[in-house]
């Protein structure tokens, strides 16, 4: 079986770059940066050629055979993969270029860019994988590269802890994912996506356990409740990494994976998925309101938007009247992927914008010590503003269209979900406007903000590109005309409201935007402290407690339950294994050694006695007095 050369290039280029950097360029940061950014550019160009050039294919080859199980490595490149690969390529390129400027003075640039390359390789692998086992392998690899990059400032204890936490929490989710894969293999005899699709189309009954276990992987990777705790901590990594991995691509891999296994979904599983997403969206939006770290606000916002996507996916398919017959559309997956795409652009823009702010303010991250950046960093200000307007859903920008698609779906399927998501949208507008106003408007309130300055071209160019994408990537003509309808397989599934529903959704959308943004505008003035904490300390404390409740719960569980269980196991291990078996064996041998050493006196007379004893024994044996 031969593979499409472009798909091989897509995987080989970042892997080669990572290998070259790891082997030869660890001490040469400048060269590593050039190699890694070059690889990212090549990957982005390659992704565009693949996606827009009409290449759609499925290749696979046998990798290894264990008994009756055959594992294959393969590439499934349909419209879904093409869209995701394009997003990964474009955002990846922007982040690499941004990193050239942002990480210029970093001591360990070689390690950083090597990490970025290995991440690009792993992420491409997830996108292209045609079976669940292969996807799982790359799934773990992105987890590893995420760990590597969160841990970039490893001399800071908090960064090391955050990396460890991200890895361990993801392991919990991945264990469920692995069980799901095993179950899938046991049930269908294959994990190949195409084979699974034909099996379920053939009427095979799927138990809700399989999609729910597979969903566990998405809960970990896409940071859904209750495994969301690692994502805010992951902000310890360099800001471009947060933009690439913890906002645009890796955390979206969970949603992508769900869309990949859509054929396995059953109504019960979808309901669980939907509510997980809805609760996450609301919870994270509430948490974001009290944050004072610019990156933490964006992190909780990411959680909330990921919840939106998961909820959209969980809403499932929709019956749409088409001429005079009904047509079943995969509206959930379509809306989720649509929002994933627009979110990747505007959230990467917001994160890179915050990176530009942090860089300009000499690594100040507290928004209450910023202010007045509108005049000092105009380009960052305007692009950031575009990002904010896109995420809060100003009509005409990307977020408006994708959010409306989700809201409409919710309205058509489940009014309760619609209500919660609309409220979340109002909260989104609230905390984003708060962040924007406190950071950029008013007077400078800190040393860093006073002599803030705009970064070089490497910092501003990615912002410009992402800002442009945040504006256009919601429009129908962008996909149909500019991109030539290359992603119609996904985009045709997005259901847009029509008629009376259109008015309802539009009115809701604009109402929540005005309410949320207006409330924030009234409540928050650019000041050195949090207005909500001052005026409503009770509410502020409640939100803080809500945010901390999970970490406290896990802390309690680990310290009181798991630690005690571990101590019990350790005790048993010490007594039974180390004590009886290992020490016992060693003790017996040692005793023999002790006895033997006592015989070894070094005195010739003693040996003569032993000799005599030996002779006597030999004689006794020979004459039959002594029998063995």
């Amino acid at each position: 079986m031969t593979f499409n050369p472009f798909s091989v290039i897509a995987l080989a280029v970042p892997l080669l770059s990572a290998a070259v950097i790891a082997l030869f360029l660890r001490r040469r940061g400048a060269a590593a940066a050039v190699v890694s950014a070059g690889a990212a550019a090549l990957l982005a160009a390659n992704a565009l050629v693949l996606a827009l050039g009409g290449h759609r294919f499925t290749d696979s080859a046998e990798w290894l055979r264990v008994g009756d199980w055959t594992f294959t490595l393969g590439v499934k490149f349909d419209d879904l993969a093409a869209l995701m690969l394009t997003v990964v390529g474009v955002v990846g390129l922007c982040v690499h270029v941004f990193s050239l400027g942002y990480m210029r003075d970093d001591e360990a640039r070689g390690r950083y860019f090597g990490g970025l390359s290995i991440f690009m390789f792993s992420m491409t692998g997830i996108v292209l994988a045609d079976n669940l086992v292969m996807m799982f392998l790359f799934w773990e690899l992105v987890g590893f590269s995420s760990w590597l990059l969160i841990n970039h400032y490893h001399e800071r204890q908090s960064a090391a802890d955050a990396a460890k936490k991200a890895f361990i929490v993801n392991r919990v989710g991945d264990f469920g994912f692995l069980l799901g894969i095993v179950w899938c293999q046991a049930r269908f005899g294959t994990t190949q996506l195409d084979a699974l699709a034909s099996a379920t189309e053939g009427g095979a009954v799927v138990s809700a356990g399989i999609p729910l276990l597979l969903f566990c992987g998405a809960v970990g990777k896409s940071a859904q409740l209750p495994l969301h705790v690692w994502l805010p901590d992951a902000m310890e990594g360099p800001t471009p990494v947060s933009a690439l991995i913890h906002a645009a691509t890796m955390v979206a891999a969970g949603i992508y994976m769900l869309c990949r296994i859509e054929m396995l979904m059953v109504p019960d599983a979808l309901t669980v998925i939907m509510w997980t997403g809805v609760v996450t969206a609301l919870y994270a939006a509430l948490c974001a309101v009290t944050q004072s770290d610019i990156k933490k606000v964006l992190a909780y916002s990411t959680l909330s938007q990921l919840g939106y996507m998961v909820a959209a996916f969980g809403l499932g398919s929709l019956k749409v009247a088409h001429d005079d017959h009904f047509h079943l559309m995969a509206a959930g997956a379509g809306a989720a992927m649509f929002h994933l795409t627009t979110h990747a652009f505007f959230k990467a823009l917001l994160f890179l914008g915050s990176g530009s702010v942090i860089h300009g303010c000499h690594h100040e991250q507290d928004i209450f010590r910023m202010g007045g950046l509108r005049r000092r960093m105009p380009f960052t200000f305007w692009t950031f503003t575009v990002g904010v307007l896109a995420i809060i859903g100003l009509p005409g920008l990307a977020g408006f269209f994708s959010k409306d698609a989700i809201l409409y779906l919710a309205w058509a399927k489940d009014p309760a979900v619609f209500g919660v998501l609309a409220f979340t949208a109002a909260l989104t507008a609230f905390y984003m406007l708060r962040l924007w106003r406190i950071t950029f408007l008013g007077e400078a309130r800190g040393e860093g903000a006073r002599d803030a300055h705009e970064g070089g071209l490497t910092l501003t160019a990615p912002l410009g590109l992402l800002a442009a994408l945040s504006v256009v990537s919601g429009h129908g003509w962008f996909f149909n005309v500019a991109l030539g309808g290359s992603f119609d397989g996904i985009m045709d599934e997005v259901v847009h409201p029509t008629g009376a529903a259109h008015s309802v959704i539009l009115a809701t959308s604009i109402a929540v935007l005005l309410v949320g943004a207006g409330a924030a505008w009234i409540l928050y003035r650019p000041a050195g402290d949090d207005a909500l904490a001052r005026r409503a300390p009770g509410l502020f404390g409640l939100l803080g407690a809500l945010r901390e409740s999970f970490d406290r719960g896990y802390g309690w569980y680990v310290a009181k339950v798991q630690q005690r269980f571990a101590m019990l196991l350790n005790f048993l291990e010490q007594i039974l294994l180390a004590g009886l078996i290992v020490r016992g064996l060693a003790g017996v041998v040692g005793l023999f050694g002790l006895g033997a050493r006592a015989l070894h006196t070094g005195n010739a007379n003693t040996y003569a006695y032993w000799f005599l004893l030996g002779i006597a024994a030999l004689w006794a044996a020979a004459t039959g007095y002594l029998t063995f």
Binding site: H600, T601, G602, N603, A604, N605, A608, Y609, L612
Partner: protein, 102 residues
């Protein structure tokens, strides 16, 4: 010719062997131990000759020649070793010669 009985010869031989063995076991001087070893060989030789004579065959006598040859070689080597030992350690007392222990 007064001929003693076989028993007498064997008794003397056993006595000699016992003296030799006891010497090897309890004496501390290497030279004395060495002489006691020779005594044990001689005891064996005496027994062999007595048996040979008693049975009227040459088997025992032939073995005696071998023993003498080996004993001569052994004395040459053993005495040389003891002399070398004395030169090096200034003692031939067995109590002091326990370097192998450590």
């Amino acid at each position: 010719m007064i001929s003693a009985s076989l028993n007498a010869y064997v008794a003397v031989s056993v006595l000699l062997f016992a003296i030799g063995l006891l010497g090897v076991l309890i004496r501390r001087n290497t030279l004395v131990v060495f002489m006691c070893l020779e005594l044990m060989l001689v005891a064996a030789t005496l027994a062999l000759v007595a048996f040979s004579r008693h049975n009227g065959t040459m088997d025992g006598n032939v073995l005696v020649f071998f023993i003498l040859t080996v004993a001569a070689a052994e004395v040459a080597v053993g005495l040389a070793l003891i002399v070398a030992l004395f030169r090096r350690r200034r003692t031939v007392q067995l109590d002091g010669l326990n370097t192998l222990r450590n």
